[in-house]
Amino acid sequence: MQLFPCPFCGPREESEFQYGGEAGNLRPDRDVTAERWADYLHMRDNPKGPTREIWVHMTCGEFFAMSRDSVNHKVSGSSVLGDVEHGR
């Protein structure tokens, strides 16, 4: 069982977490083309190697950002959602 670091609760078992999506995929403003909207809804970088993702720790219900490697599964850190993730 791999441990993931929840920024609020500390290291917990991976089965307590749910993947939420790639970090930085910001919802576009209204009145965009169908292509731009589809890009936001469906298209993904899906990187091989280092990746930054949004996860939710289901037991405390908090969303957070986690940096991880998609090949060897090593976690390099996690943090509360900041200005970047909120598009500010």
């Binding site: 069982m1 791999q2 078992e13 991976e14 089965s15 749910q18 993947y19 169908a34 292509e35 909207w37 589809a38 890009d39 809804l41 469906h42 298209m43 993904r44 970088d45 899906n46 990187p47 091989k48 190697g49 990746t51 993702e53 998609s70 090949v71 060897n72 599964h73």
Partner: protein, 417 residues
């Protein structure tokens, strides 16, 4: 020299001390230019090469594989072949694959060991039986063989199932596709490779794509670990790495990569003569010709390119298998592995020209690519030869994500995606 496989050639070679067999496929060095390039030496890529040569007479073709052929998902799946899908578009594509599978051994002169032993998807509640009935109706309307099974039917087909009154997931019935079954996955890759090679296709292994040659906004070939290779049309069938190659070509795909695990037990005497899927445990079981129980389950829920599974999902799969078949409690498990699958929002494949003109896609099969190999090959070959969609592949174009015409087969596989 013995090229054709038959009982007679087997007999002759037996007399001659097995000295006359020729290699199943050639291993030529790549030429600088071809009429078409296919990236990916899995089942879909190899089938594309074969149908390009056979159906369209295009034989000046290079198939490029970064490792060895059939070493990716083609060699990692659980070998299930079926076509019991809900939507007409899906029935057309998987039905095409299934009908080609039925004559594949003869077409390829290679025994792919298709075993139409039937496939049973269980229903574990009254509500699930209602859904099963609706599903069977839709599948029958699509022209695919499928029956609604009662509890008694299930008892007849899998008597060793856990029918105890205190079962966590009691059986109410299920859906049955009698023509479904399994095929030998390596044989499918090797059979297509041999047949394509005999028609003139160059199969080039250990040849990794490092970049695309893009001129005037068109794909005109690839740069590989064995030099640049040019062609006016390039197809890619690289499940598990579709996003990685798309990034090199300058576009994104609606694909997330996840690990899908499977495991096999030690070989035992024949005990399950069909394929059994339980949607509620997310586990399915069949028995290989060698006697191993082949067990598959749901996806790992962590995006991954590591071809190995995580422990919690394996634990859930084994627990589900034991709930279904308590009789297997003393079985020893022999191997466990994972393949990386392309998961698409609507669980349907993506086939068509990519945003980079001259580059064509065959990806996004998710957890169900093996059963679709003959169709994936036929359709990508049609695109490469004509530049146009086949009627069957048109609904699966990448443009459906902007138009909203998704083909949502999330429930089509019978297991969680």
């Amino acid at each position: 020299m013995t090229r054709h496989y038959s009982a007679l050639s087997l007999f002759k070679e037996g007399i001659a001390g097995q000295t006359g067999w020729v290699k199943a496929w050639r291993s030529p060095d790549p030429k600088p230019r071809y009429d078409a390039i296919i990236i990916g030496g899995g089942g879909h890529g190899l089938a594309t090469a074969y149908y390009l040569a056979k159906n369209h007479g295009v034989t000046n073709v290079a198939l490029l594989e970064k490792g060895w052929i059939g070493g990716g998902n083609t060699g990692r799946n659980t070998t299930v072949v079926r076509s019991n899908y809900f939507y007409p578009e899906s029935a057309a594509i998987y039905g095409l694959a299934h009908s080609l599978y039925k004559t594949l051994s003869k077409d390829l002169n290679y025994n792919v060991m298709l075993s139409q032993r039937g496939i049973l998807t269980l229903a574990h509640s009254e509500a699930a039986m209602e859904t099963a009935a609706r599903s069977v109706n839709a599948i029958q309307v699509n022209g695919i063989d499928c029956e609604l099974f009662s509890l008694e039917d299930v008892r007849r087909v899998v008597p060793i199932y856990n029918f105890s009154p205190d079962a966590r997931y009691p059986v109410y019935g299920g859906t049955w596709q009698p023509s479904g079954g399994t095929a030998r996955h390596d044989a499918v890759a090797w059979g297509y490779a041999r047949a394509a090679s005999r028609l003139g296709v160059d199969i080039i292994q250990n040849c990794e794509i490092t970049d695309f040659i893009i001129e005037n906004g068109r794909c005109r070939g690839v740069v590989t670990s064995r030099g640049a290779i040019r062609a006016e049309r390039t197809g890619m069938a690289v499940a598990g790495h579709s996003s990685v190659l798309a990034a090199k070509a300058g576009f994104r795909l609606p694909v997330n990569s996840y690990a899908l695990q499977a495991c096999v037990s030690e070989p035992v005497k024949p005990i399950v003569d069909t394929v059994v899927i339980s949607p509620d445990t997310s586990v399915y079981v069949s028995q290989s010709d060698k006697g191993e129980l082949v067990i598959g389950g749901a996806l790992d829920r962590i995006p991954s390119y590591g071809q190995r599974g995580n422990l919690p999902v394996l634990e859930g799969v084994i627990a589900g298998m034991l709930e279904m078949f308590p009789i297997f409690g003393q079985l020893k498990m022999m191997r466990q592995w994972a393949g990386i699958v392309d998961v698409v929002p609507d669980s349907s494949p993506i086939i068509g020209e990519s945003p980079l003109p001259g580059l064509f896609l065959n990806c996004g099969w998710g957890t169900g690519g093996f059963k679709a190999i003959p169709a994936g090959g036929t359709l990508l070959a049609h695109l490469l030869a004509t530049g146009q969609h086949h009627d069957v592949s048109r609904p699966f174009d990448l443009d459906r994500f902007a138009s909203g015409r998704l083909i949502d087969e999330a429930a089509g596989s019978g297991i969680a995606h």
